[in-house]
Amino acid sequence: MSNENNDSNSKYVFGPHLPGDCPPTDAIPVTGAVFLGVPGLPITESHFRSYKEKGKKVRKGKECEGCSISVWTSEEAVEHAREVFSHMKDWYIARAELDRADGVILKTPSTNQPLHCSFWRDVRAQLETKFSIWASPQASAEAVRGP
């Protein structure tokens, strides 16, 4: 059985693994560019599985967040992440123009991380066909040592 979430424009169908009060009521329909980290090609449905769907243990109190996937909504945020995290330099970055039927997104879930977005997909959305590669893994040239 799937969870259903109504808003004024569409009726969403979310995966059965979501808790009852998830996504949060302040999540809004997604529109516009969304960026996703993809460790390997081709882009498949598995890249849109949440932490929980991958069978990983979700921290207490973060059950709803654990049922979402993290995405970036700006090039600036993607580039910043790849400058900070070495393993993200090895990822492909996929980009899509999503529309409100694809799911809901919650921006600024944390004052610590204003650009982070959690995305809950509608199970009917064919996301793997919407995303295409926007950036390849960065060359693994060694960074200059020292601050």
Partner: protein, 392 residues
């Protein structure tokens, strides 16, 4: 440092499907942890000691992530999805794959823009110099009080040797005066694998009373001198350690200063003691922060060569503590307080013996005469850090 079984985040600073950058508590200490690699069965993280102050600066965008993580000592930790520790190893910053560090100048969040790493590193996160003693007796969470006192005392004495030469170069001061003027700020010590970190030494202005006796001190020159002394010490330690590993330390005497050897001999790990490894970190003259690891084998060679040099009849190393121009003699005091009268037996008229006043860590060669009161050395050659001062 002994870790708990897990490194569960106490505060998440960057989340992307899972905590990517976070703070964790290990006992009373906080660590800043960043995910650096993904492996089949575990994720790899880089962890460094941190403080509430550092975290506040990261959040405020006043220090870069690279500065926060580029610390002399850190840990590479493999953890499972629930932050259970599978494996951890302590490494120096130089042993961490460079790409694991965030790109230079990047702040915690994109809106922080570019932040100068160098400024922050110099003033906030990276110590001026580090001394880390490792050994089985220093890694079980406690440390013997006497060991602690000895190591602190020896490190101070060693640093005093390194920096007092620099102060001596801006004027002639007695040992007491030097002790009053030279300040070496030390960071809070990290026990249980003793790590001593110091900030840039300072020259304290002479007291009001002292001002009447001292000439004015150029503090800027003194600051530069202290920086240079530290850099040449790090350069020399690199050289000494590499020669010690080759068992070829005698070479060192042919062209190098003796201060570093004396300072290092005082700290180098002996074969049986509370510690087996000494790691010295500091900025070398090429501007790079460098960590040198001296093990017990090299340490013994360094000590032996230094003892041999100090005890050798025909050469002495020490400080000039008194000059007697009419007799063309001066008194040299070595590092264990033994005094030798040095006689310039064939005065060269171009050489003014008064130029030796306050000279520190000079090496003298000549014919040795053992005496009841004070030994004598009929000089043939005097060397300072800068080369030959005088020769017969």
């Amino acid at each position: 440092m002994m870790f708990d079984k897990t490194m569960v985040p106490s505060e998440i600073l960057y989340y992307f499907n899972e905590p990517q950058l976070f703070v964790t508590k290990q006992g009373s200490r906080s660590l800043l942890v960043i995910k650096v690699a993904e492996h089949d069965n575990a994720n790899e993280y880089l962890a460094v000691p941190t403080s509430e102050n550092d975290i506040a600066k990261l959040k405020g965008g006043t220090i870069s992530l690279r500065s926060a993580f580029f610390q002399p000592w850190c840990w590479l930790v493999k953890m499972d999805d629930e932050f259970g520790i599978r494996d951890s190893r302590e490494v120096s910053a130089n042993e961490v794959p460079p790409r694991y560090f965030p790109t230079a100048g990047v702040g915690l969040y994109p809106h922080h823009g570019r932040i100068s790493d160098q400024t922050v590193t110099d003033t906030v996160t990276q110590p001026f110099m580090t001394f880390k003693f490792e050994g089985k007796n220093l890694s079980e969470g406690t440390i013997s009080f006497s060991t602690f006192v000895t190591l602190i005392s020896e490190t101070y004495s060693s640093l005093h040797k390194v920096f007092s030469s620099a102060v001596g170069s801006i004027g002639s001061f007695s040992e007491v005066q030097l002790n009053r003027m030279l300040q070496i700020p030390m960071r809070e010590t990290k026990l249980a694998s003793l790590s001593i970190e110091i900030e840039h030494p300072l020259i304290r202005p002479p007291s009001r009373r002292a001002k009447q006796r001292f000439v004015a001190i150029d503090r800027e020159a003194a600051h530069e001198g202290l920086t240079a002394a530290s850099q040449s010490f790090i350069d020399a330690v690199q050289k000494i350690d590499s020669l010690a590993r080759l068992n070829d330390l005698e070479q060192y005497f042919s062209y190098n200063p003796t201060t570093a050897l004396a300072a290092l001999a005082q700290l180098a790990p002996p074969e049986s003691a509370a510690y087996e490894i000494l790691k010295i970190g500091g900025t070398a003259s090429n501007g790079q922060f460098t960590t040198i690891t001296v093990d017990a084998k090299s340490g013994k060679r360094i000590r032996d060569v230094y003892k041999q040099a100090v005890r050798s009849g025909d050469q002495k190393i020490g400080n000039v503590v008194e000059i007697n121009k009419p007799s063309n003699t001066f008194i040299l005091e070595d590092f264990i307080g033994r005094k030798t009268t040095c006689v310039v037996s064939a005065p060269n008229f171009d050489f003014d013996i008064n130029s030796l006043a306050g000279q520190r860590n000079i090496r003298v060669f000549g014919q040795f005469e053992k005496r009841k009161m004070r030994d004598k050395l009929y000089l043939e050659k005097i060397e300072s850090e800068y080369g030959i001062v005088w020769s017969k």
